[in-house]
């Protein structure tokens, strides 16, 4: 059983919802990434989405764009991100890591090399924002060969046919984008999520995480009630942005603890 599957099985058994925080690798500085990952786990993260910096993050709002820019100032590329995961994995054998980003850095490395290195480093899943199943099937075959789960997004605009298409290729969990827009947007439409989740459940036999637009403990709780996991990205990245070198790890830890407590009320 994969690490992602194990985590969701265990949560289900205890009737808990997953908390899935996101941070960008190399933000605010490469030396903080591994300590931040451990802090996320200590604060109650079940799965971690680790952003791979990209020069042209088209699906991201300004907050995560700036995180990418800060990381790229230190030339954090895919090689470094994989090294960071290895280092994290040497002290944490259980918390799944999902790499999230855009396809081009992987294209540049080559999918087979990438998948092999993911396996060696202890990466569990890969979410490539701009590779829908239609274009990615060859690429995703490399991932599966090395036991890496391809994670997919679904959106309010996804038709039934698209949900079925994604269901065929998705592994681990699916990530439902709660709104039409980029990461970090403010308008969360809970009633729309309420309608969509049962439609997804009918077609997809995997845990469903919901993200985009979760700003605080209250929205995290509201969303957690409707699905299997809550993804929080921009809010955490904002905390990193507003902290200094001395308090960044502590600040992120206390924010994630707060979110954990909220999600556990669901």
């Amino acid at each position: 059983m994969s690490r992602i599957q194990t985590v969701f099985e265990k949560l289900k058994l205890h009737k808990r919802k997953a908390l899935i925080p996101f941070v960008t690798a190399g933000d605010p500085h490469p030396k903080f990434t591994v300590p931040l990952l451990h802090a996320l786990v200590e604060a109650g993260a079940d799965v971690i989405e680790l952003g791979v910096p990209f020069s042209d993050p088209m699906a991201d709002g300004p907050t995560i764009q700036r995180a990418s820019e800060r990381a790229l100032k230190h030339h954090v590329g895919l090689h470094h991100v994989l090294d960071m995961v290895s280092e994290f994995r040497s002290k944490d054998a259980n918390t799944p890591i999902v790499l999230m980003g855009y396809g081009n850095p992987i294209e540049a490395m080559g999918w087979e090399t990438f998948a092999r290195r993911c396996e060696a480093a202890g990466v569990d899943g890969v979410l490539t924002v701009d590779f829908p199943p239609e274009e990615g099937h060859e690429a995703f075959a490399h991932l599966e060969k090395h036991g890496i789960d391809p994670i997919f997004l679904l959106a309010p605009t996804s038709t039934d046919a698209r949900m079925e298409r994604v269901a065929k290729q998705a592994r681990g969990y699916v990530y439902y984008v709660s709104l039409k827009g980029v990461t970090g947007a403010v308008h969360l439409d809970l009633s729309a999520i309420k309608v969509k989740i049962p439609q997804l459940r009918k077609r997809i036999n995997l845990p469903i995480g919901v993200g985009f637009g979760i700003r605080d403990a209250a929205t995290a709780l509201a969303v957690a009630k409707l699905c299997d996991g809550v993804v929080v990205g921009s809010r955490i990245v904002q905390e990193i942005e507003n902290s200094n070198e001395q308090n960044v790890v502590a600040n992120v830890r206390s924010l994630v603890k707060e979110l954990r407590q909220a999600v556990d009320k669901a």
């Binding site: 910096p53 990209f54 020069s55 042209d56 993050p57 088209m58 699906a59 709002g61 300004p62 764009q65 820019e69 790229l72 030339h75 590329g77 895919l78 090689h79 855009y102 396809g103 081009n104 850095p105 992987i106 294209e107 540049a108 490395m109 924002v129 701009d130 590779f131 829908p132 239609e134 274009e135 997919f152 997004l153 679904l154 959106a155 309010p156 605009t157 996804s158 038709t159 698209r162 994604v166 984008v177 039409k180 827009g181 980029v182 947007a185």
Partner: protein
């Protein structure tokens, strides 16, 4: 018979639909709408009417006799897209897309722009058809192309400066995509070049193909035959695809795309991914040759002309290069600038700096060709927008 792209938007290994899930539905909707209306006699009639009466088509072909004599070789003919309403080929496409938007019930159009020509062409048709218009433009380009910024504002468009990344065309495209994903229900994204996810490269090409459809009729009338070579500048590559398209199935006609060589290919400061053989990658919804570093990060490009300052290139050009049907070369900033001045002096035509690249290449090869050889250059735009840039480079304050 040339028949690209395939039904999923692939030109060989290039093109495709590399976008976030949120956009997939909208692209499918656009594909279906285009399939329907491209054959609809009413749509075609409305498009042709506006191309004739609003744009002023057909654009003439002009024999640049003085320039040809001066060079002493092949005869140079210019396809005068610079004479179109709004001053460039861009309007051929924006009219087509705006008419699609109208039929799809979208009341708001958005666009990205580099040199500002596509932004002006979009603002123009938005005014013409009564639509709200928002144009994204890199703040570096806003500096370089201030007359076009004011033009867009006069036409009622909102111009949004983009401060991220290199503050040029690629960043404007990122920002327009973000807008589209957020406002997908009421907004039509008018992409200005033969890039982006399918069906954009195909439909932008098709709307610009009017250029070569006219040329294949005009050239025999004027020159007595088809040209030996067709030459066009390539940034994203829309004017080049337009002037190439009807010639692709004529093997006797050479197709030459001219990229922006900037300070020279060897300097690394250019915008010529095809000529430099850049690695293949994925950006803005399609797979193509792409200027990038070893980590797959997109690198900053350089060109004297904002309209060519783009790290990728339309996927169909990537395919035409690999298949050998077209040839791609680069012209440096200083060569383009020289061609700009030469056309001003010798023919009384002020060309756009973008088009000056195509012209410079024609001027480079013409002297080595016989006088009965014929080159057709797509003069894709006029240079009024560039006079500030040229004045600055000449040390003149306007």
């Amino acid at each position: 018979m040339y028949n690209f792209p395939d039904s999923n938007g692939h030109f060989g290994p290039y093109g495709g639909i590399y976008v976030a899930e949120t956009l997939m539905g909208a692209l499918e909707e656009l594909k279906l709408a285009y399939e329907k209306y491209r054959q609809d006699p009413e749509f075609i009639a409305e498009l042709n009417f506006d191309l004739k009466h609003f744009v002023g088509r057909p654009s003439p072909i002009y024999h640049a006799k003085h320039l040809s004599e001066h060079l002493g070789g092949a005869q140079i003919y210019l396809k005068r897209e610079d004479l179109n309403h709004t001053g460039a080929h861009k309007v051929n496409n924006t009219i087509g897309q705006a008419l699609l938007a109208k039929r799809m019930g979208k009341k708001r159009v958005i666009a990205e722009t580099g040199a500002g020509q596509h932004g002006v062409a979009t603002a123009t048709v938005a005014a013409r058809y009564g639509m709200e218009c928002v144009v994204y433009m890199g703040s570096a380009d806003i500096q370089r192309q201030s007359p076009n910024v004011f033009r867009m504002k006069l036409l009622g468009a909102t111009v949004v400066p983009v401060e991220s990344g290199s503050k040029t065309l690629k960043d404007a495209l990122n920002e327009a995509m973000r807008d589209w994903v957020t406002n997908i229900e009421n907004t039509f994204y008018i992409i200005g070049t033969v890039a982006g996810p399918h069906p954009y490269p195909m439909l932008v090409r098709d709307f610009n193909a009017v250029v070569s459809k006219e040329a294949v009729v005009q050239m025999p009338e004027l020159a007595g035959r088809q040209p030996d070579a067709v030459i066009a500048c390539v940034g994203g590559g829309s004017n080049a695809m337009g002037v190439f398209y009807s010639y692709i199935d004529m093997p006797g006609v050479k197709l030459i795309g001219v990229e922006a060589g900037g300070h020279g290919i060897a300097s690394g400061e250019h915008a010529a991914p095809l000529t430099a053989n850049s690695p293949v990658g994925v950006l803005h919804g399609n797979k193509t040759y792409l200027m990038q570093d070893a980590d797959g990060q997109i690198i900053e490009t350089h060109s004297i002309s904002a309209g060519l300052d783009y790290p990728g290139v339309g996927p169909e050009h990537a395919w035409l290069k690999d298949s050998g049907r077209a040839e791609y070369v680069a012209i440096n900033d200083d060569e383009a600038l020289q061609a700009f001045h030469d056309l001003c002096h010798l023919e009384g035509i002020i060309p756009a700096l973008e088009s000056s690249h195509a012209l410079a290449h024609a001027m480079k090869i013409a002297p080595n060709m016989d006088k009965d050889k014929v080159l057709l250059v797509n003069l894709s735009g006029r240079g009024d927008k560039d006079i500030n840039t040229v004045a600055r480079l000449s040390g003149i304050a306007l």
